[in-house]
Amino acid sequence: MNEKPTSRTRETLQILLANRLAVVGLCVLALLVVVGVIGEAVAPYGINDIDIANRLTGPSGAHWFGTDELGRDVFTRVLVAARVSLQVGFIAVGFALAVGVPVGLVAGYYRGTIDAVLMRIMDVLFSFPAILLAIAILAVLGPGIGNAMIAIGLVYTPIFARITRGSVLVVSEEVYIRAARSLGARDGRIILRHILPNVLAPIIVQTTLSLAFAILSEAALSFLGLGVQPPNPAWGRMLAEGRNFFQQAPWMGIFPGVAILVTVVAFNFVGDGLRDALDPKQKSVIESRGQSV
């Protein structure tokens, strides 16, 4: 019984690993995770080590990415901020998955009034430009990293609900689902045992792509002063702090920006690779960015 899923997983992995861009993305992400976990321990300086005598000094052997207006090491802060970005990305997308997937499963399986009500609620959330909705939610909840995760999670929930529902509508018509029903299986069992495993592919692809845009969203909110609060480092926040010193110290903005770009490109490479391997018909990277903050 386990042979089929294992061989399918192996096949997916083979297709994914044959895609050079996806492999590059995976390597970058692995490096980022390592940096996120051990970054603070291996960083050459403390994240808030102030050294006024060496403020706004350019990249050098002592400070690879230069120093900021308080003499703090930019390299150290970029390293440590990787953890914040990944954390926000994973938790926010986890929230969107935890809410959006059950909504999509229930709406697609039961259809009728439940479907209409749930999906209209999702449509309402989808009717706002993403950043505006996130800002409005943060206006109510107040700025901060935890609330930013909830705001980003809520913004991405309808995407997962729609994708899951669409797949459930197709899978529900399959013979094995009708067979399970006729054998008297309960709805909960059919949904969890038979439908969910068969709609996972597009959800996995969307998760990877959403992670990229959740990280972009967090950076944008931190840039606006609504995400991570000082003195904690975040790439978006560092960029905002560096704005006033760009003429004297462009490195304050260049390196955090490059870090965001590299991370997002890596997630997109992996997402595109996964899409080709699992679900070639989907084109959700573009949809996601269309709705991204």
């Binding site: 309402v124 990229a212 944008a220 462009p250 573009i286 960015r289 269309g290």
Partner: protein, 314 residues
Amino acid sequence: MRAFLIKRIFQMLLALIGVSIVVFALMHLVPGDPVRVALGTRFDQDLYDSLRADLGLDRPLAQQYVSWLGGALTGDLGVSFRNGQPVTQLILERLPATITLAMAALFIALLVALPAGIISAVRSGTGLDYAVSAASQIGISLPDFWAGVMYILLFSLTLGWFPSSGYTQIGDGIGEWIRHIILPAMTVGLISGSIITRFVRSAVLEALNQHYVITARAKGLSEWQVVRRHVLPNAWIPIVTVVGLQLGFLLGGVVVVEVIFAWPGLGRLALTAVKDRDFTVLQGSVLYIAFMFLVINLLVDVIYARLDPRVRVS
């Protein structure tokens, strides 16, 4: 077509009611008394009493909603907590800046995306195609606020070609207007252009693989004649859709770029309202942007249905 239109307008109105409930709820979900929170250290009992009376906060919630919605439908979105100005007036003052930026950004996006996407599809599999694909991948992943800051660093602070921020109206002189709008429009336009490029490429590629293209080639038409006469008319439908969706995004989703370039648009108005805890302005601007977003989505669907009858039937 009429049945489709009625159904789609009904759906939009339903979504609009939902949006209005969410926007109305914003102020009521704020922990504590929203007027007291908004006034903060500027608390004044008379102002407090008059704002509470204006908002009818002592009435039942449903009554407050109906009254607020009725006001919104007649263009009365209340007054700013901050300066007492009518919210509708504040929004209308900002609207031209938002619309001109969106249009200029869309112009740049199309200027880049149409040729890049078509060439990439026609020369599929070549170095040029890979270069366009790589550039569009980077464009999609680019943080708009970082791109904006980098453009300021290069084109404004280093080369001195364009001002780093500010806004002038088109009536004040076309030259100055272009100089001010080019960097913010480029910042969002190139990102939107990257997204549209991918759609154009895949739509053109799909059309190129159709039988009628093989027939057209067999007739001896040149590659560009084939593209112009047979491919583009058929690739147009998905392109129109994505362009419409991008316009919706450009009208409401460029808050960060408006902040970077001190562009006095609706997004910046909403953000300032958050920082000032000016909830009536926040409600009004969010409602307005969401309304524009929904109307554009409706228009996109109508155009789509007009171009492709299968959509109307389904």
